[in-house]
Symmetry: C2
Subunit: 508 residues, 2 copies
């Protein structure tokens, strides 16, 4: 019997090591405390700026109680009289209870008796084969390497039910992602139900009733994210990627011409009409009030000039503006107008790198989002854009919709976001990175196993110290262990290689 006990302990100490992403400083001792769900409490520390009634923390306490004791049903476990109550005191330095998380939200101030966040603490608790819970004495100091750690979901190429988005937000919190980049509309469909322009979804969604996000859906997503410390960054990409917009808003897109007559097809947003900017100002005014985050993503990628070129009115506008035949100037003119609209609404703009590529004089607080190319080219782009003094977000190496056979998470893990030529000041302009799940081949049927745990590899790169996490083979067993934790929490995370988890996925 004693031998068994040792075996068990060995198994669980191994499992304790699996905190993901790795904290900045982490010392675990073999001294352990038993945890009894009937005598376990979260409490606000006396010094804490937030106290009972703080919605974000009250809710987090509830949620993490269930995550820490997954099979606890009230009253089902015998209480042993010798169990001392175990109270986790939570103190925060800022009363940030009613606001939304933003770029300045401190992710360092949460101080527990174990000097760590609730997520990390929950990963430290383990269960022995006989059902008892333990936590080892552990010293942790932790803070994120990058301020922006995002995941992009694309709800235009396929509609994702709200439940799929909420499930993703759950899993994001487990990997300490803090930005949900909602690429909500694009060419194939316009599922956002606008208050001001209801025809956009009524005519541009895959289905006007079943394949849309109502205002209340959007509020639910934002509120669910807020509770988990996640910002919601909406993207309304233009002037390209807007085919679906044209269905519900006439005269918005450019009519393409074949020779001297309209061909019946449409191109990007028409930059030559004043009505375009009036429409955009109204739409972005609504979007700015619906989405509380101070950032907004304006897209600006992959604009095809052939339709603009074919259209006589656009060509006349080019002449009038003195752009000659340089359509990048027209595009720059369009983006400048859109950025001005959102600036007037007190929002900071994020745009895809294309905007910088053809127009180097955009407002200095604009964030450039790097999505193109192989390592060599994205590193050059990081260097070039930060040299110009712009902040950047790196997405290129984390296009997770691209799949291949085998352990491709290793590629996501070994990215070195700051490995480009540039000064220390330039490196500071890299505000973070983003995992992009474009939707050509992804919907609710395969989203979760395709995201997890592959995205978690990027999460550690964005959170943890690079030197401490430079060995991908050392990361492997920890990631395997973390993936089993995801399964235990009901996340349909796919396997990394041959093996098993104590609690397999039961949701078939």
């Amino acid at each position: 019997k004693k031998k068994n006990h040792h075996v068990t302990r060995f198994c669980c100490l191994q499992s304790v090591k699996g905190v993901w992403p790795l904290p900045q400083s982490f010392t675990i001792s073999s001294e352990r405390y038993p945890l009894n769900p009937q005598a376990f409490y979260f409490a606000y520390g006396k010094q804490s700026a937030a106290q009972e009634g703080c919605s974000v923390l009250d809710e987090a306490f509830k949620r993490y109680f269930s995550l820490i004791f997954p099979d606890y049903i009230s009253g089902s476990i015998l209480q042993f009289s010798e169990d001392q109550p175990f109270t986790v005191q939570v103190s925060v330095g800022l009363d940030d209870c009613d606001g939304y998380p933003d770029e300045n939200s401190s992710e360092q101030l949460y101080t527990l008796c174990l000097s760590t966040g609730l997520e990390t603490f929950s990963q430290l608790v383990y269960q022995e084969d006989f059902g008892s819970y333990f936590v080892n004495k552990t010293e942790i100091e932790d803070f994120p390497r990058f301020q922006f750690r995002g995941i992009l979901l694309d709800t235009s190429r396929h509609y994702l039910p709200v439940r799929a988005i909420l499930k993703t937000l759950d899993a994001m919190a487990f990997s300490k992602f803090n930005v949900f980049h909602w690429h909500i509309v694009d060419d194939p469909s316009f599922p956002y139900q606008s208050r001001t322009f209801p025809d956009l979804s009524a005519k541009g969604a895959f289905h006007p009733m079943t394949h849309i996000y109502t205002q209340s859906d959007v509020r639910r997503v934002i509120s669910y994210a807020r509770m988990r410390g996640i910002r919601v960054l909406p993207e309304f990409d233009s002037p390209g990627h807007t085919q679906s917009w044209g269905k519900g808003q006439s005269d918005l897109l450019t009519p393409c011409y074949r020779g001297s007559t309209p061909s019946g097809t449409f191109g990007p947003v028409n930059p030559a009409l004043p009505s375009t900017y009036k429409f955009m100002a109204t739409l972005f005014k609504e979007v700015s009030s619906v989405f509380p985050d101070s950032y907004i993503h304006l897209g600006g990628d992959e604009v095809n000039f052939s339709c603009w070129k074919s259209n006589p009115d656009v060509r006349a506008f080019m002449q009038k503006m003195g752009f000659g035949t340089d359509f990048t100037k027209l595009e720059a003119y369009y983006m400048e107008n859109i950025v001005n609209i959102t600036t007037a609404l007190n929002k900071t703009s994020i745009v895809w790198q294309d905007v910088f590529d053809y127009h180097e004089r955009i407002p200095k607080d604009t964030v450039l989002h790097i999505w193109k190319g192989d390592p060599a080219s994205y590193e050059a782009e990081l260097s070039r854009i930060t040299k110009a003094g712009y902040r950047v977000l790196l997405a290129a190496p984390w296009y997770i919709n691209h799949i291949s056979y085998g352990q491709d998470w290793r590629n996501y893990y070994t990215v070195q976001p700051l490995n480009f030529s540039g000064t220390e000041e330039q490196k500071k302009l890299v505000i973070g990175g983003e995992v992009c799940m474009w939707g050509e081949y992804v919907d609710a049927t395969n989203l979760t196993p395709r995201l997890w745990p592959r995205a978690s590899a990027a999460a550690e790169r964005l959170w943890s110290d690079e030197k401490q996490t430079s060995n991908v083979d050392k990361a492997f067993p920890r990631l395997q262990d973390f993936r089993c934790k995801l399964l235990r929490r009901g996340i349909q995370a796919e396997p990394l290689f041959v093996g098993h988890c104590k609690h397999e996925y039961q949701g078939v």
Copy 2:
């Protein structure tokens, strides 16, 4: 209102065309009959060899009623007095009600009023936006191109819960697959709980209680498969791929040597010991009685000779047998013994192609399973093996565990299994094909979206006429439509490209 009606009809006629896999002959008319779930019946035809009480058909009638009327809840639909009862008469030429499906099971004898099987009939029924069901007058003649249309699941590299296997059997029936090749054990784990050798799973499974298939699990799988016309082909692969066997059966595997001392590691099954064959005879006797199918898969692939070479006892045995240093002779000797064991048990053997590659004189009724190589090499192998008079099964082009970005189903669809140089007689020896889902990176979390609808592409290749299904672009919208039908039936089938289904997957 009338206009709406026409639109609806257009939508649904399109949908009707989507029978997958394509029947051999198929003519659909625009004449349609309304179907009312309250006045819809399956009945046995007067001429039918099977009558009420035939378990397979009684169960199939129940199952297909629910599949045809997915949102019907008894009593919830108003009955219109003008609805005529609609009875589908089912006649079969053979009373095959209590047996198991086998290679001779006719898949042609099911004759309905619409001259088709229940699965095809169910795909012909469509629902309009207002909820009414219809079926168009349709003439179908149908039979499969190949007798053997299999799917391999690997339950050793990852354990698959029984529910995941049953779900796969459901989906297999929808695509008219008729063989479940159960690669039940392999190096990483031995989940089959043997009556005779319980230690094999007690010590060789990932977990002796939670990660095993009990006798009753196996019976459940076989019975569930039988009800759907699916054979269960078990594989107990040896002499390689047996690391997990050694944990519960000492002296079975070959001890590897480093120089003159055992290294502590083990190689393939030890072919030099009489006890090996005694063990195998006992195990296969059990397996033969547990699995009713007349075929059994004996593996025989990828035998690594280095451990045999290192072992002095094996080398001595080679001398004694006059094999010199040709270890393929030792392997051939071993496989011959195993094939003889199963032949004595009245089973037909299937082995991987390796067995033919090193030993051309195996019994003539053995089926060779082709798994290696690119198109050029598997076609040469088809030619070579059928020339020697053996029946073959083609798996090489359908290793569906290999994933890549984009529409790789097109590769599975455009396979031409008979496009090799050989006589008509040789072509007849190709008994079918198999989709293999090896388990390195697959468990219950990602099995279903990885299999479906990609495997359905192979299903059409194996069922339908090659000339009628030679255009992959024409197949695309039908496969998209079929994928939506799978979703409607609760199968988590992934999308093929941008778009939507009326009923999206709700199981998040």
